[in-house]
Assembly symmetry: C2
Homo-oligomer: 126 residues x 2
DNA sequence: ATGCTAATGACAATTTATTGTCAATAAAGG
DNA sequence: CCTTTATTGACAATAAATTGTCATTAGCAT
């Protein structure tokens, strides 16, 4: 396995994710990290985020009808859900989780996970 | 507005949707309807499904990280959620709905809708 | 400082889903 | 049966996200 080298690009992307407070799209990650490293290419954003995913330092947040967003693993480890604002298209983390999901399933179905997305307007856009 | 003409293709697609009992992808719709009308093209499946959507005879069922599936409006009118089998990738309708979602939101957020997807293994694959 | 090579950036290429185009076909009214 | 034109199928074209390639840059061990 090749030796790892730390770069300004990698740090900028990790910090963009950590400071966001909400899941970011690849484009958002690129934009934000590019403020610290203006030469940062979108190609590198893809590469670094993928390495973060491989290393379990970040997780993908699927969004209905859109490409995945990403958030730090530390955030994802605290089970939560998401709210997407229809006006500004931002996705927010929402604490809490409805219970009793297993009871919704027909006989014989095995529940491995679930995803709940709420949508509407965020406080800022409402 | 141009006069409508009924065709075997249209009927095959409508019946495929109605007899499926679960949301179908565009490819699934095409495959199934093509059993009744072997010359049916995927292009026509897109056209007919879009007309069904325009006419509110069908609705799109968004799926995380995948293109929409479709189901008859009559089914969608009864509020429900979906279960995706990780083994066979089929999506099933699930009756019931967790309540109290509005209480999960921060102050000022307006809830317009929600989507809940459960996943795991269906009875057949488990 | 020097050398090795991991990491990057530019840009082409791919992938997957969907849509545009247009000649050929066929539904429905006269 | 004929005519009109909505509908279809073949195929090209697009759109958007992601990935491949490769010459250049720059970490870091020596």
């Amino acid at each position: 396995m090749p030796a790892r080298r730390h770069t300004a690009q990698q740090r900028a992307i990790r910090e963009a994710l950590e400071h966001a407070g909400r899941p970011l799209s690849m484009a958002e990650i690129h934009q934000r990290a590019a403020q610290a490293v203006p030469t940062l290419s979108l190609r590198t954003a893809y590469r670094v985020v993928h390495r973060l995913l491989d290393d379990q330092d970040a997780v993908a947040v699927p969004v209905l009808g859109q490409p995945d967003r990403y958030e730090p693993a530390a955030v994802a480890d605290r089970h939560h859900h998401h709210f997407r604002c229809e006006a500004c298209d931002r996705v927010f983390d929402i604490a809490g989780c409805p219970g009793g999901l297993k009871r919704m399933l027909p006989e014989g179905f095995e529940l491995a996970g679930h995803e709940l997305t709420l949508w509407g307007r965020c406080a800022e856009c409402a």
